[in-house]
Symmetry: C2
Subunit: 160 residues, 2 copies
DNA sequence: GGTGGTATATTAGCCACGCTAACTAATTAG
DNA sequence: CTAATTAGTTAGCGTGGCTAATATACCACC
């Protein structure tokens, strides 16, 4: 397979991923969870308690951004702060029951919408998609170099 | 194939798409094009001139948001405004040469990064991904109900 | 046991880009 | 000709990116 073909595949994959997420994203905000909050919550729910710093690294945003995000989420009862008894500087973040519930509801909705679309495909088409998802995840996991294993849905940043 | 399996496929696809775009998005801002600008530009470059209103619909954002985005892009020489001679209300938007060049450069970068990853796969894995991209694009095109045919990379919105 | 350096989190203040509400101007319908 | 509709803008708000500067805690070392 020549390199030019790789680029063509890359291009189509890129486009497919954009369309897929554009479609799913509409369900994200249907229940009061902004994307930034959903992404941070997913890290805590699937990966357990984290410190502010490690959350910032996992989300690939700056420390002040995370501080402010968490202040709001704590105010709304989605996360709980807890200070470390070994190290007075670090703050541990836990998803509350409410936060966990909201995250799961949103996830359900998104995935259900996609599953609807999948219903209209043939078995072999679905099998192809399943195989592709596996290949992609292996490929991307291999080239990812960050700490967090969960799913930050990162969105843009300013560059100045 | 039972519905439960569809959900599992949906879940894996969702996750794969997120990881894919998270990886690509880093290249987006490497050249002074914010995601919102890149997305608007891609509509004009690949789809030709558009009116403010149709761009807003294609991007799925409100009219004021587009107005402000375009004001900035015009200031920076990425787009040109032109009024319609039939209808004094409408404003046509054209990508300038500079805008077109910037967009293509960014696209090259993103796709090149992905093609690198694809190099490490086997031929049959690549074929699976190519087939999956086609299936996805057909599936998503079938359920999309908007006017614009180009590629808005939409990101979150506020709901109040 | 104080002193300097490093690490963690916060505060302050900027910018981009979502939104609604309210407006102007142009067109179309009746 | 007036009323309704449509296209775009202006004003003003909220979230979530950022850097720079600061407070606190820890650590290392003399």
């Amino acid at each position: 397979m020549p390199a030019a073909t790789h680029r063509a595949v890359a291009d189509r994959l890129h486009s497919a991923a954009i369309h897929l997420l554009r479609r799913l994203r509409r369900h994200d905000e249907a229940m009061g969870l902004t994307p930034a909050r959903a992404s941070a919550l997913s890290i805590m729910v699937f990966g357990g308690p984290v410190t502010l710093g490690s959350l910032a690294r996992a989300e690939q945003v700056s420390a002040p951004t995370i501080t402010r995000l968490i202040v709001g989420m704590e105010r709304d009862g989605l996360v709980r702060r807890e200070s470390d008894d070994q190290d007075g500087r670090v703050v541990w973040l836990h998803a509350t029951a409410k936060g966990t519930r909201l995250l799961h509801e949103g996830r359900q909705r998104r995935v259900a919408a996609l599953a609807d679309d999948l219903n209209r495909l043939s078995d072999s088409e679905r099998a192809t998609l399943a195989a592709a998802a596996d290949i992609l995840d292996r490929m991307l996991a291999g080239s990812s170099r960050e700490a967090g294993q969960a799913r930050p849905l990162r969105h843009a940043g300013r560059t100045r």
